[in-house]
């Protein structure tokens, strides 16, 4: 098919022209193409393949990697229920089943009339106001039976999304405790002016003095990272802000992006001047698509204010601008090298490291990748100085940390505390009662039991990217771990054998226990698999996929013991259960219609 003849050219050409047919924008092109059509049409791939000179298998390979992109029709309405454990605790599965039965669809299958598709998705970052869903990638929160019924009616009547009630799409900030960052009356441009007055190198020195550490969880020194990158040789340097907030239970970046975007963009701009970068990227998770227009508007205003673009604040040669890239449903892209691959329009597979992004990042050029909160904090450091910042928090963990509190508590939302706060203090502040456990820093973090609530949030004790999920005594910690294991299996990129196969095996083993077929043998198998995943996986996802299981086995052993129904090994496949359909068809349920077995689990 020639270029002119392709019927998809009408909507693809403006998208392609906007990015000047840059193959590194492939993911952005695919995402926008889908917004026009609801899925990526095979003929559209023909056209993109021709114009971008990319093999179609490569385009299909990229598109199919991301769970929010579709290569086949997925219905006019694509309804994805957030399936974090906090959504589960608020009854998301019942609500999804209710929606499915009202609209006569099965989860995971497009309805026969092509009207809708219903499924679950990984945490959408709305844990403080769940249960949540995405409809055509736009967030709806605080689901109730009434709201679900109203959604069914709107879908049945084919009401276009912009005409749905506005309150469905309302998203709260839920800021419960403010400290230096959330309390700051930050004026856009003030930190840049402070830097220009002080000098770039001197400002870098202040960042080092502040002892600011990365807020994405790993806690690398921000000053050192910027210094290494500045010193690294390259044709261009790049600044990347990681707003791929995919760790289940984390939602603080959403609020920062919504209400503190200037502070973050200013931090990126500071970094750009210090490492001599001309370009920055904000990598925004696809689930936060609704924030895109707002963020673009902030960038546009900052350009008008002379805070982005050429000769920033009149300073000759200070040129820097920021582009927003959207993800499309891949937790792994929160890993910095996978994020860079994704920015380059590829599958989000973590790279072999070293080299690290500071020397070999975006387009193999020196690149700083920092979290949203890190850049916002850097603005405060530039404004108030490193010593001021280092004086807050603890010796090893300076400054404050914003926690995303959700689960069993009266006041879920954002809590900013100086580092060093104890788990118990946070629990008291958020109104948690009869707390059994707290999962700090999401599934890849640690599960803290009641006897450890005097432990402190900080790099010296419990490092965290921000998630703080509370479980009271009524919760089954085995089910918590099982939810997290399924999350990892769903989000594994599939590159390395141990993670690709191991996370699914682990998920199946946990399912086997949940179905009552567990024995000490399975328990030993789970422990062996944990060791293998930790030692041989390619990146942190596989290495930490077992953490929730190891933690809950160590701290909540009875939750597992009660599932050891058998003393000897029992296969996961239950032959007697497999015969149940035949029994129903023949109307028999006598002993002769059952296989002889030790435990009758009819």
């Amino acid at each position: 098919m020639t270029r002119q003849m392709n019927t998809h050219a009408a909507y693809l050409d403006p998208i392609l022209n906007h990015c000047q047919c840059n193959v590194h924008d492939l993911l952005q092109i695919l995402r926008q193409a889908q917004e026009h059509y609801g899925y990526i049409h095979p003929d559209a791939i023909d056209y993109l393949s021709e114009v971008l000179a990319l093999p179609r298998a490569k385009i299909e390979g990229v598109a199919s990697f991301y769970s929010l992109l579709y290569l086949k029709p997925h219905g006019e309405y694509r309804v994805l229920f957030s399936d974090n454990i906090t959504d589960r605790m608020l009854g998301n599965i019942d609500l999804m089943n209710s929606l499915c039965s009202q609209l006569w669809v099965e989860p995971g299958k497009v309805s026969e009339d092509g009207l809708l598709w219903v499924n679950t998705t990984s945490c959408t970052g709305m844990c403080d106001q769940g249960p949540a869903l995405l409809v055509n990638n736009i967030a709806i929160n605080r689901l109730t039976a009434e709201r679900v019924s109203a959604i069914c009616e709107l879908i049945r009547e084919r009401v276009p999304l912009p005409s749905w009630p506005a309150e469905f799409f309302a998203i709260e900030n839920n800021i419960r405790r403010k400290d230096i960052l959330l309390n700051s009356d930050f004026e856009s441009g003030s930190a840049l002016a402070a830097m220009l007055q002080r000098g770039a190198l001197e400002t870098l020195q202040e960042v080092k003095i502040s002892k600011l550490r990365g807020r994405g969880g790993a806690g690398f020194s921000t000053g050192s990272k910027w210094e290494f990158c500045r010193a690294a040789a390259g044709e261009q340097h790049y600044v990347v802000c990681n707003a791929d907030e995919g760790e289940p239970g984390t939602f603080k970046d959403r609020v920062l992006l919504n209400s503190y975007a200037d502070m973050m963009f200013e931090g990126m701009t500071l970094c750009g001047h210090i490492i001599d970068a001309k370009k920055g990227f904000l990598y925004l998770r696809g689930e936060y698509r609704y924030l895109l227009d707002h963020l673009q508007a902030v960038l546009q205003r900052r350009r008008q204010q002379g805070l982005l673009g050429s000769n920033i604040l009149g300073h000759a040669g200070f040129d820097f601008d920021i582009e927003i890239h959207l993800g499309a449903g891949a937790y792994i892209c929160g890993e910095e090298s996978a994020l860079i691959e994704s920015l380059e329009g590829k599958r989000g597979t973590p790279r072999n490291r070293p080299p690290y992004p500071v020397t070999c990042g975006y387009l193999n050029q020196p690149t700083v990748v920092n979290n949203v909160e890190t850049f916002a904090a850097a603005s405060l450091v530039a404004l108030h100085g490193g010593a001021w910042y280092a004086g807050i928090g603890t010796e090893i963990s300076s400054g404050t940390k914003i926690l995303s509190v959700s689960g069993d508590c009266e006041r879920p939302g954002l809590y900013e505390f100086p580092f060093g706060v104890t788990v118990a203090e946070v629990l008291a502040d958020c109104g948690a009662r009869n707390t059994q456990a707290v999962q700090v820093s999401g599934p890849s973090g640690v599960c803290v039991a009641a006897n450890e609530f005097d432990r402190r949030i900080g790099f010296e004790d419990i490092p965290t990217a921000g998630a703080f999920m509370v479980f009271n005594q009524s919760r089954d910690m085995f089910e918590v771990a099982r939810n997290f294991v399924q999350f990892f299996a769903h989000e594994s990129c599939g590159f390395c054998t141990p993670c690709r196969v191991g996370t699914s095996l682990l998920g199946n083993m946990m399912n086997k226990l949940a179905q009552g077929h567990g024995s000490p043998y399975d328990f030993a198998e789970i422990e062996k698999l944990n060791v293998l995943l930790q030692s041989t996986s390619h990146c942190g996802l596989g290495q930490s996929a077992c953490n929730p299981v190891l933690d809950t086995i160590a701290k909540f052993r009875p939750a597992y013991d009660q599932r050891m129904m058998h003393t000897e090994f029992v296969p996961a496949f239950d032959l007697d259960h497999a015969l149940s359909q035949a029994r129903r068809m023949t109307g028999r349920d006598d002993t002769g219609a059952h296989l002889e077995r030790d435990h009758d689990t009819r």
Partner: protein
């Protein structure tokens, strides 16, 4: 073996053997040059290391790493042929066996298959884990070649060969996680609709039995094939007869 503690900038220790290396060589490259076998599947000396199968995992200075991507360093102490590491490698092989559908007795690649040969080398006696038994249709659309995706271990050697050597991009990986699969660069998804040919490097790099040449099956009887003659630990990359 005793080791004098004089720092040598060009050697490292592999299981108590001194292995010379040159700047920029990975552990597996140096080891293989010295005639030492480290089990591997996605690594092929003709291609840039990939590091995905993890079968070549070793313990380098106490830390586990893929020896195909880990650069050799002076005086590094590398453990490879140990009970713990071989147990882990065996578990990784078992994962590859249960992930796909591998029926060695009826497979035309038997005896020339690196997965099978490595499993023999590591004395893998059973698949151990529950089979996933995926449903993966064959592609017999090409006049000269058959694709049996059931045996794919996602090493991506064919992807790399077709892209980097043949300049054709016939293959790519799609989906992710346990659903990751090899796809073919055609709208129909069929190999017959691509420019793939017997002359392609990609036609001859598959370590397992996915890319199978038609009409020559079993011309060399099982029992006389490459790894039937020499175990993979002795001859990891033999020139396979009939290839």
């Amino acid at each position: 073996m005793t080791q004098d503690n004089i720092s040598n900038p060009t050697t490292f220790m592999l299981d108590n053997k001194i292995i010379p290396f040159s700047e920029g060589q990975t552990i597996i490259q140096a080891a293989m040059a010295a005639g030492e076998y480290i089990p591997h599947l996605c690594y092929n000396p003709e291609f840039k290391p990939h590091g995905s199968c993890k079968v070549c995992t070793v313990k380098a200075n106490g830390r586990q790493a893929a020896s195909c991507t880990q650069l050799a360093q002076a005086d590094m102490v590398v453990e490879s042929n140990t009970q713990q590491i071989n147990d882990e490698r065996r578990a990784l092989l078992q994962m590859l066996f249960v992930e796909g559908n591998h029926f060695c007795p009826s497979c035309e690649k038997s005896g020339n298959c690196e997965l099978q040969a490595t499993a023999y080398a590591l004395e893998m006696m059973s698949p151990h884990f529950d089979h996933f038994s995926p449903n993966r249709p064959l592609d017999a659309s090409h006049p000269e070649y058959l694709l049996d995706f059931n045996r794919c271990i996602l090493c991506s050697l064919c992807v790399r060969a077709s892209r980097d050597v043949d300049g054709k991009n016939v293959f790519a990986l799609s989906e992710r996680g346990i659903k990751t699969q090899l796809i073919v660069n055609a709208k129909s998804g069929k190999l017959g609709d691509t420019d793939f040919s017997d002359q392609d490097k990609a036609a001859h790099v598959c370590p397992v039995g996915v890319i199978i040449k038609k009409r020559v099956g079993f011309t060399i009887p099982i029992g006389e094939r490459a790894f039937d003659v020499n175990p993979i630990s002795v001859s990891p990359h033999p020139v396979k007869k009939g290839a």
